[in-house]
C-alpha cells in the first residue's frame, strides 16, 4: 500500500507544480495589460521626419471597437493627417489606444505606474480633483498662457467654466458647442397616433400611456412581447435612463454629478437632500416598482447589464418610450431598419408636482484633458492641443474638400457613405477640444445638414422640438471645485450601494420594506455626512436651486 501512496503523491505534486506557475502568470495579468496597451500606438515612431529634432508626445485615444472594416485606429486618414500637421510644428505624435470601457482602470493604472501617455482624458471631474489633490497632475496655467493661444481663442467659455481645482488649472476641458446634449425623453408618435392618444404631460399620464401600449399593442408585435418602456439594468454601463421621469416626480439636480445616472437631489431651504432622502425620490421608485410589477418595463431589466436588451427592445420596435442620450432622429433611423413606419419624437419634460418643467442639459464643458506628472514634457502636450485647435475642422468634420464642404456655417458631408467608412466611426474621439462645431441649428440649417437623406423635412420636424426643449427647459447642475474629503471617502461606496439597492427596490414585492433598506444602507455608507458637505459647498457658492 505504501508504494501506491508514494506514486499518487508524486503524480499529484508533479501536476500541482505544473499548474502553479500558470496560476501565478494569471495573477500578474493586470500589469501585463497596461504595458501591452501602451505599446500598440507605435506607428508614428518609425516615420521620423528628417528636419530637426521632433518633440515626442503621446496622446490617449479611445477605441470603441466599432471599426467598420477591421481598419486599425492608428492607420486611419485623420490620424495620419493630424500627425502630419503636428510634425510641421515640431511634434512627433503617438496615439495610445485604450478601450473606451476601460477608461477608469487604465487611467488609474497609468497614474500608478507612470507609464501613461502625456495627455489622459476623462469625463470624471472627481477623478481630476483626486489626482490634482495628490499631486499627480501638471499645473497648466503658465503652459496654456505660453503655448496655447489658439486653445484659448477656441474654447474660452469652457476654460472659464471648469478645469481648475483650488484656483489652479489642472485640466483643459473640451467645450460643448451645443448644450442640447443629455438624456432626453422620446416616445413613438406612430403608436400614439394609432391609439388616438395625446403625448403624456405628467408622470401619471405616462403610466396611462404605457399601460395602453401594453394592452392595445399598437405596434402589432404581440401583447406578450411589448416592453412599453425600454430600460436596462441600473448600472455604470447603462445606456437608457430615467432622468426625465424622475425630474417629473420632483427631483432636481442640485448635487454634484456622480456616477449615478439620475437627478442628484434638491437644495431646499438652504439644505441639500440626496434623491434617496427625498419623499419625491421614494415616490419615483415606487412608480418604477409599479411599472415593473405590471410588466411595463422589462421583466429582465436587472440582468441587462450591458444594455443589450435595451437596444434590442427599441430597435426591434417592441418599445414605445425611453429616456436616453440619443436624439429622436438617430433612434428613429435605427428603429426604421426593422419597423419602417416607426417615428420617435421628443417628449417635453413632464409638469412636476410644483408646476415647473425641467430637464438636464449638458454643461458647457465636457471631456477633460490632463497632463500626468509622469509626462516628461508637459509643454509638448499643450503644444499638441494647440495644433489640434488650429486644425480643429479636421476632427469636427474631416478634411475640407474631401469629406465635407462648408455652406453658410454648416459642414456638409460630400459623400456620407465614404465618410461612414473613412472617418465617422472615430474622428470625434480625436477631437479633444470641442464637442460638435456649432450651436443649435435652425430648421433651415437642419434641412441642409440632412440633404443627403431622402426626408430632410421630416428630420427637421423631428429634431427641431428636441433642440427647443433643451433651450426652453434645460438646467445645469453645480460644479464644486473645492476639496470634499467626506465625498472622496464615501462616494464610491455610496454609489456602489445605491446601484444595487435601487435595483432591488424596483423589483421588490414589498416596496416600502425594501425602501427602508435603501435609506438605512445609504445612511450607513455615510450618505448624511455626504449631504451635509454638499450643503456647505452649495451655501458657499450661493447656489440657486434647479427645482424652481
Amino acid at each position: 500500500m505504501m508504494g501506491s501512496w508514494k506514486k499518487g503523491l508524486q503524480t499529484a505534486l508533479a501536476i500541482a507544480l505544473v499548474t502553479l506557475p500558470l496560476a501565478a502568470c494569471g495573477g500578474n495579468n493586470d500589469n501585463g495589460g497596461a504595458s501591452s496597451a501602451t505599446a500598440t500606438g507605435g506607428s508614428s515612431g518609425a516615420t521620423q521626419a528628417g528636419d530637426g529634432k521632433l518633440e515626442k508626445v503621446r496622446v490617449s485615444l479611445w477605441d470603441r471597437s466599432n471599426s467598420p472594416n477591421g481598419q486599425k485606429l492608428e492607420d486611419t486618414v485623420i490620424v495620419k493627417k493630424l500627425q502630419e500637421e503636428a510634425r510641421k510644428e515640431g511634434l512627433d505624435v503617438e496615439y495610445v489606444v485604450l478601450p473606451r470601457s476601460q477608461e477608469s482602470e487604465k487611467n488609474n493604472i497609468w497614474m500608478a505606474s507612470g507609464g501613461g501617455p502625456d495627455i489622459i482624458i476623462t469625463y470624471d471631474m472627481n477623478a481630476m480633483f483626486k489626482w490634482a489633490e495628490q499631486g499627480g497632475l501638471w499645473e497648466l496655467d503658465d503652459l496654456l498662457e505660453q503655448y496655447g493661444p489658439d486653445i484659448k481663442k477656441l474654447i474660452g467659455p469652457s476654460l472659464e467654466a471648469a478645469g481648475t481645482y483650488k484656483g489652479k488649472r489642472y485640466a483643459i476641458p473640451a467645450m460643448r458647442m451645443s448644450t442640447a446634449a443629455a438624456s432626453n425623453m422620446k416616445i413613438r408618435q406612430d403608436w400614439l397616433d394609432k391609439l388616438g392618444m395625446k403625448a403624456p404631460t405628467t408622470l401619471d399620464e405616462l403610466y396611462v400611456t404605457l399601460k395602453a401600449f401594453k394592452e392595445k399593442d399598437p405596434g402589432g408585435v404581440g401583447k406578450d412581447n411589448v416592453v412599453p418602456y425600454a430600460l436596462p439594468a441600473i448600472s455604470q454601463g447603462m445606456k437608457g435612463f430615467f432622468f426625465g421621469p424622475m425630474w417629473g416626480a420632483g427631483v432636481a439636480i442640485d448635487g454634484p454629478a456622480t456616477e449615478m445616472y439620475m437627478p442628484s437631489g434638491n437644495f431646499q431651504d438652504g439644505v441639500f437632500h440626496s434623491a434617496v432622502a427625498l419623499k419625491e425620490g421614494k415616490e419615483f421608485f415606487r412608480f418604477l416598482n409599479k411599472l415593473y410589477k405590471e410588466g411595463l418595463i422589462s421583466k429582465e431589466f436587472v440582468t441587462d447589464v450591458n444594455s443589450q436588451q435595451f437596444i434590442q427592445n427599441y430597435t426591434s420596435g417592441v418599445s414605445g418610450f425611453m429616456d436616453s442620450n440619443e436624439d429622436p432622429w438617430t433612434v428613429t433611423k435605427e428603429t426604421r431598419k426593422t419597423v419602417p413606419e416607426a417615428k420617435w419624437v421628443t417628449l417635453d419634460p413632464f409638469v412636476r408636482p410644483n408646476g415647473t418643467q425641467a430637464m438636464t442639459e449638458a454643461n458647457v464643458y465636457g471631456l477633460l484633458n490632463m497632463v500626468p506628472k509622469s509626462s516628461k514634457n508637459p509643454a509638448a502636450a499643450v503644444k499638441y492641443l494647440n495644433v489640434l485647435a488650429k486644425n480643429i475642422k479636421l476632427v469636427q468634420a474631416g478634411i475640407e474638400g474631401v469629406h465635407f464642404k462648408e455652406e453658410n456655417g454648416l459642414y456638409v458631408a460630400i459623400d456620407p457613405v465614404k465618410n461612414a467608412e473613412e472617418i465617422d466611426w472615430y474622428f470625434k474621439d480625436l477631437n479633444l477640444l470641442t464637442q460638435g462645431y456649432m450651436g443649435n441649428p435652425t430648421k433651415e440649417q437642419m434641412k441642409k445638414q440632412f440633404a443627403n437623406e431622402p426626408n430632410p423635412d421630416e428630420i427637421a420636424d423631428i429634431l427641431d422640438p428636441y433642440f427647443k426643449s433643451f433651450e426652453k427647459f434645460g438646467k445645469q447642475g453645480p460644479l464644486i471645485d473645492t476639496p470634499r474629503p467626506v465625498s472622496d471617502k464615501n462616494v464610491a461606496n455610496i454609489t456602489k450601494f445605491l446601484y444595487d439597492a435601487l435595483s432591488k427596490a424596483v423589483i421588490a414585492k414589498d416596496f416600502d420594506a425594501e425602501w427602508e433598506n435603501v435609506v438605512s444602507g445609504w445612511k450607513k455608507n455615510g450618505g448624511e455626512e455626504y449631504d451635509a458637505e454638499v450643503t456647505q459647498n452649495l451655501v458657499a457658492m450661493n447656489w440657486k436651486t434647479t427645482n424652481e
Binding site: 500500500m1 501506491s4 501512496w5 508514494k6 506514486k7 499518487g8 503523491l9 503524480t11 499529484a12 505534486l13 501536476i15 500541482a16 506557475p21 501565478a24 500578474n28 493586470d30 477608469s104 482602470e105 488609474n108 493604472i109 497614474m111 500608478a112 483626486k130 489626482w131 495628490q134 499631486g135 499627480g136 439594468a233 441600473i234 448600472s235 421583466k299 429582465e300 436587472v302 440582468t303 447589464v305 506628472k373 464610491a492 461606496n493 456602489k496 446601484y499 444595487d500 435595483s503 432591488k504 423589483i507 444602507g521 450607513k524 455608507n525
Partner: protein
C-alpha cells in the same frame, strides 16, 4: 557541504525554479507594505506616509466587510462540497468506459468548457437561464410550470454559481485522477477478480484507496484556497440584485481598489486573506497527518 558538492548538478537544475519563486512570489510580497501606508500613487511605495494599522481598522469598519467575507466562504465551501468530488466521480466513471472512442470523445467534450473564458461562459449562462428567451424556462413552460428568474434570485444564483463551476472545471479536474488511476498496478485488479469482486467492489476496494493520496493532497490544496476566490466567475455572473451573495473579496478589491484607487485598504484585505489561507493549509495538513494519511510536508 559534502552533500552540496556531490550533487551540485542536481542543485543547479533547481536554480530556475528557485529564481522563479523569488522573482514572482517573494519579491512582490514587498508590496504588502502598502497595507501599512497611506498610499499615494504619485509619491510611490517609499514616499507615502506610514499609516500604522489604520487600513486594517477601516477594513473592519466597512459595512460590507463581513458580507463579502461570508460570501467568499460560502461560495468556496459549496465549491469544496460539490466541485471537489465531481471530478473524482467523473474520473471513476470514465475509467469504467470500455469503448476507447467513446472515452476519448467524452473526455474532450468535458475539457472544452475549461478553455473558455468566464465572460463567454457567463453570457451562455445568462442566455440559457433567461426567463423569456432561455431554453430552461422554455422547458419549464412546456411542462406547465412557472418560469423562474434564476439569475435574479439569491438561492438560485448560488446554485447556478456552484453548478456552473462544476460544468467548467470538473472535466479538466479528472486529468489528475485519471493519471493516478493509470498508475495503479493491474495485478491488484486481477487479484480482486480472482477473489470474486465485481466492478463496484473493485472501485471501492482498489481504485479509490489507490488514488486516496492524490485526493488528500488536492483536498489540502483546495482548503488552502478557502478564503481566496477567482475574480472572473463572480464578476461574469454577478448583477446588482444578487449582490448580497455575489459580492466577494476579489470583486470588492477590484471595484474599490483598482477602480477607485483605494490601494492601501484593498491590500490590507488581500493580506488578511492570505494569512487566513496559510493557516487553513497548515491546519488541513495537520489533520490529514493525524488521520493517518500523509500530508504535504
Amino acid at each position: 557541504m559534502k552533500e552540496w558538492k556531490k550533487n551540485y548538478d542536481l542543485y543547479l537544475l533547481l536554480v530556475p525554479a528557485v529564481v522563479f519563486f523569488i522573482v514572482f512570489a517573494y519579491i512582490p510580497m514587498g508590496g504588502l507594505v502598502i497595507a501599512f501606508k497611506d498610499y499615494n500613487l504619485f509619491r510611490g511605495l517609499w514616499g507615502s506616509d506610514w499609516a500604522g494599522l489604520a487600513n486594517f481598522r477601516e477594513m473592519f469598519s466597512i459595512p460590507e466587510f463581513f458580507r463579502i467575507t461570508r460570501n467568499t466562504l460560502l461560495l468556496n465551501l459549496l465549491g469544496l462540497l460539490v466541485c471537489f468530488p465531481a471530478p473524482i466521480l467523473l474520473a471513476l466513471m470514465l475509467n469504467e468506459v470500455r469503448s476507447r472512442y467513446l472515452k476519448k470523445i467524452s473526455q474532450s467534450m468535458l475539457y472544452l468548457p475549461h478553455f473558455m473564458s468566464w465572460i463567454v461562459l457567463g453570457g451562455i449562462v445568462y442566455a440559457v437561464l433567461s426567463p423569456k428567451y432561455g431554453v430552461v424556462n422554455q422547458i419549464l413552460r412546456w411542462l406547465g410550470m412557472k418560469e423562474i428568474y434564476f439569475m435574479a434570485d439569491q438561492t438560485w444564483w448560488v446554485i447556478t454559481y456552484t453548478l456552473s463551476a462544476v460544468w467548467q472545471s470538473a472535466g479538466w479536474g479528472t486529468i489528475i485522477y485519471l493519471a493516478a488511476i493509470t498508475a495503479i498496478d493491474p495485478a491488484l485488479y486481477e487479484a480482486a477478480s480472482i477473489g470474486g469482486a465485481g466492478r463496484i467492489r473493485k472501485i471501492a476496494s482498489v481504485t479509490l484507496p489507490s488514488i486516496m493520496p492524490t485526493i488528500v493532497i488536492l483536498f489540502i490544496l483546495a482548503v488552502g484556497h478557502m478564503v481566496s476566490i477567482g475574480i472572473e466567475q463572480p464578476l461574469a455572473l454577478a448583477n446588482s440584485v444578487v449582490s448580497d451573495v455575489s459580492e466577494v473579496i476579489s470583486t470588492y478589491v477590484y471595484r474599490v481598489g483598482i477602480k477607485q484607487g483605494e490601494f492601501g485598504l484593498t491590500t490590507a484585505v488581500g493580506m488578511v486573506q492570505s494569512v487566513i489561507n496559510l493557516c487553513l493549509v497548515v491546519a488541513a495538513n495537520h489533520f490529514a497527518k493525524r488521520a493517518g494519511g500523509e500530508g504535504l510536508w
